[in-house]
Amino acid sequence: MLAGHHLLSLVIWVPILSGVLVLATGSDRQAGLARVLALFGALAGLFVAWPLYTQFNVQTADMQFTEFSSWIPALNINYHLGVDGISMPLMLLNSFTTVLVVVAGWRVIQNKVSQYMAAFLIMSGLINGMFAALDAMLFYVFFEAMLIPLFLVIGVWGGPRRVYAAIKFFLYTLLGSLLMLVAFIYLFFQCNGSFEILDFQALPLNLPVQILLFIAFFMAFAVKVPMWPVHTWLPDAHVEAPTGGSVVLAAITLKIGAYGFLRFTLPIVPDASHYMAGFIITLSLIAVVYIGLVALVQADMKKLIAYSSISHMGFATLGIFLFNTLGMEGALVQMVSHGFVSAAMFLSVGVMYDRLHSRQIGDYGGLAKVMPVFAAFFMLFSMANAGLPGTSGFVGEFMVIMAAMKVNFWYAFLAAITLILGAAYTLWMYKRVVFGDVVRTEVAKLRDLVPREFFMLAVLAVLVLGMGLYPLPLTEIMHSSVNNLLAHVAQSKLP
């Protein structure tokens, strides 16, 4: 067995330590070295994360690869790690995305290269730690610590309004997480002095308390998802962030919110979750429909994709709060798929932006004539974003709509509107950017993909299609954990 019993620690610390190493290369005179080291670090991170998949036991819903050692005995905080079918795919997604981000920033980032690369590597390790943490306080430490590199990435390498976006992003997410901290401390005392998430899950609580805890968790995770109406930080952050930052934001950080619902809200306060399900479903449907409409009128491509992300994540929260296997697995598939598709979309916009330094749809037109290879890839990803059957985007959405149909026809009806809206805003953007005549002379001079970009997009294309055609390996991993979670949630925890 590779790496023995410390596999998860490796998955966390290899990226962080390589990040520190990259940071040590110092100024931009060593930029080349920093890039190579960062790529090695990211690949090493992916390499050590790979056994999580190959050695994963799909039969059990228990935590696997667990590690336990005492960390701060004075407060009874432990370094307790473990993964199940819910967190493992997200960790792999994260480790994979890190490689993409490093490659995507290879040429584009010329300023403070080592800091840029290091920020992403360290962030990757912290996010892995967050997904693997089984101790609430350990989770919280990773959860908060990852804000620091992301804050810097947006603020240092972002667009013109980056400062506003970075501070808004940080304060918004901090607001939610501080209330969660209070909730954790409260649960700590209810559990007779334990921060173990699994102890929290077994703890009986009465309904008023559950609802208060639900609100605290909701504040933390809804901001991250982000759910309507606390989504306003996302378009700002997305638009201003550099391509790599947008990719990580969309592919990974948005998943943290949904993961939090699955790991904390549902199992710790199941009765309140049932009680509030209507509320969450309403917000999710508003996100799906209303934000879909908002996306339709965007003139900025990144903003459009940002709004489409919010709409897609609405599907994830909808699926989670339907409380059936199909819905929840659909939500998870949607999360992973959105990780690939949104990453691909942002990378595609990045490819265009690097050439023309504009994200406005109106500045393009006729790309199919000058960049045919790129246009083909962009086509595929747009289709996936619109949820075309055969792409990964379809699988999750379809599962969630089916699950919604079982619960209530109107839920399914409203959710299905997104198939129309999604197709409308994505394909309309695609049409305006790629088809038509080449009007502007700058566009006529554009060059097609370089091998580095081709490689990035090709890998994503394979994954998007692979997941769309054969999603079984993914659903198989989650199956036991999801069923176990649902069985747990079905039991009342009222004393």
């Binding site: 701060i72 810097l152 901090l174 005392f189």
Partner: protein
């Protein structure tokens, strides 16, 4: 009563420091300005000697009293004194260059600093109202003079005057409160008072009045709202070396002061002082955090941040439990470490004739020197209480204690104010990382300062990743001493 030299053993560090200070004061007269660094080295040596004496005489066992119970040597005092020596030594190292360039590298500075330290040591070890007051006055008088060290600075003179008048007023209030408690119980001995009050001795009206005055005095010395008016002026007006000292070392003494008075002497009245501290604490967090946003001067901003932090510290005290006191102790140590670095950074960036004490002086620090920017980033996130820095665990421990005492709403209020606080710490990070530098002078601090800055900044991170040791030291010290 028989007197033997052994009775003096518990106060050996104080006696040594007094002798050493007097020696340094006289010895310095015979030094030419070129040789002034000998005084500096002797001062450090005196602290080192104190450290050795305190460390050698530290006992894990019961408290030893001397001077008819006026002076106590217990684990709490031993631990706090050791932290104090390190803090004062760090203040000296940070200040060396700064004082040189401003013509303040003179014997008085060192003598006053040592006298202030002695005052704090006496406060930390006090077990009688009289000792406590004596230590406090020795500290305060030295500080008034230190603040006014820069004779030609109008700001410093104003700050010193304000500090002196308000400080005298507060001392008066404190003394008045103490006299009432004395009237009600008939003793000045803190342990005795504790026992008598536990037994229900004393007129409750007199005690309540006495308590109000004492809490007001404490609030002034800690600098919590609404007794905080002096803090911003003194922090801004005093030379940064002195601000560094007031902002860090004296907080340790203030903590000991609060513990000796409230947790040891007046613990039977906890029900009363808890309510007062709730008000003081919420007010300080509100005023400190909100007013800090409007500041453009870094020292002044840090002053308001201190007010907010002291409010947070009071949360730990008002939990009135071992957890609470030890979390407050951890908080104060964490704050001192972070504060040392933050004020130290101002001095590190200052040059001859240029004070880097405005927020805009930090602009673009990441481009000028990424290493210092990174250290400052750690310090700011620690002050904001973001993991994985030590400031987070300090906040966590305090919140935990306060919730354990049943004040969940107070914890919610506290985290909301920390959110507001996060804004102005983030603004500093923003200035350093997101903006272009205005000042493009090279930053060339001396080697000792560079090393200390690095150690200090990384300690914030290292103690954040592994806070256990420090946390258990605090818990142990508090548990064995109260």
């Amino acid at each position: 009563m028989n007197f033997s030299v052994r009775d003096l053993m518990p106060m050996l560090p104080e006696i040594f420091l007094l002798a050493a200070t007097c020696f340094i004061l006289i010895f310095d007269l015979f030094l030419s300005d070129r040789r002034r660094h000998v005084t500096y080295l002797l001062t450090l040596a005196a602290l080192l000697g104190c450290g050795w004496l305190s460390f050698a005489t530290i006992t894990g066992g019961a408290a030893t009293y001397t001077m008819h119970g006026m002076f106590v040597d217990d684990l709490l005092s031993g631990t706090l004194k050791l932290v104090l020596y390190v803090t004062v030594a760090a203040v000296l190292v940070y200040s060396r260059q700064y004082l040189h360039k401003r013509g303040m590298f003179r014997g008085e500075f060192f003598a006053l600093l040592l006298f202030a330290t002695l005052g704090m040591m006496v406060m930390i070890s006090a077990s009688s109202f009289l000792t406590l007051y004596m230590g406090l006055e020795l500290l305060s008088l030295s500080l008034y003079a230190l603040v006014a060290m820069q004779r030609d600075s109008a700001l410093a003179a104003e700050a010193s005057m304000k500090y002196f008048i308000l400080g005298a007023l507060a001392s008066g209030m404190l003394l008045y409160g103490m006299s009432m408690i004395y009237g009600a119980t008939g003793t000045l001995d803190i342990t005795q008072i504790g026992l008598l009050l536990q037994a229900g001795v004393g007129n409750s009206t007199v005690l309540a009045f006495g308590l109000v005055f004492i809490v007001a005095g404490i609030a002034f010395k800690l600098g919590v709202a609404p007794f905080h008016m002096w803090v911003p002026d003194v922090y801004q007006g005093a030379p940064t070396a002195v601000t560094l000292f007031i902002g860090t070392a004296t907080k340790l003494a203030a903590f000991a002061f609060v513990i000796r008075l409230l947790a040891q002497g007046l613990v039977a009245l906890a029900g009363d002082w808890q309510q007062m501290l709730v008000i003081l604490s919420v007010l300080s967090m509100a005023i400190g955090n909100i007013t800090a946003i409007a500041q453009t001067n870094l020292k002044r901003m840090l002053a308001y941040s201190t007010i907010a932090h002291m409010g947070f510290l009071l949360l730990g005290i008002l939990a009135a439990s071992m957890d609470g006191y030890s979390s407050a102790m951890f908080y104060v140590v964490a704050y001192v470490i972070t504060g040392l670095g933050s004020f130290g950074m101002i001095m590190l960036l200052s040059r001859r004739g240029f004070e880097a004490d405005r927020l805009e002086d930090l602009k673009g620090l990441n481009q000028r020197n990424p290493w210092y920017a990174f250290l400052m980033l750690l310090l700011m996130f620690s002050l904001a209480g973001v993991p994985p820095t030590i400031g987070f665990y300090a906040k966590l421990a305090v919140l935990q204690a306060v919730m354990n005492a049943g004040y969940t709403w107070l914890a919610v209020v506290a985290v909301m104010f920390s959110l507001i606080g996060a804004f102005y710490y983030l603004r500093i990070v923003k200035l350093m990382y997101f903006e272009a530098p205005v000042d493009t002078h090279d930053i060339r601090p001396a080697l000792d300062m560079r090393v200390l800055m690095g150690v200090n900044g990384l300690a914030v991170l290292a103690l954040g990743i592994l806070p256990q040791a420090l946390m258990s030291v605090c818990l142990y010290a508090v548990e064995r001493s109260l």
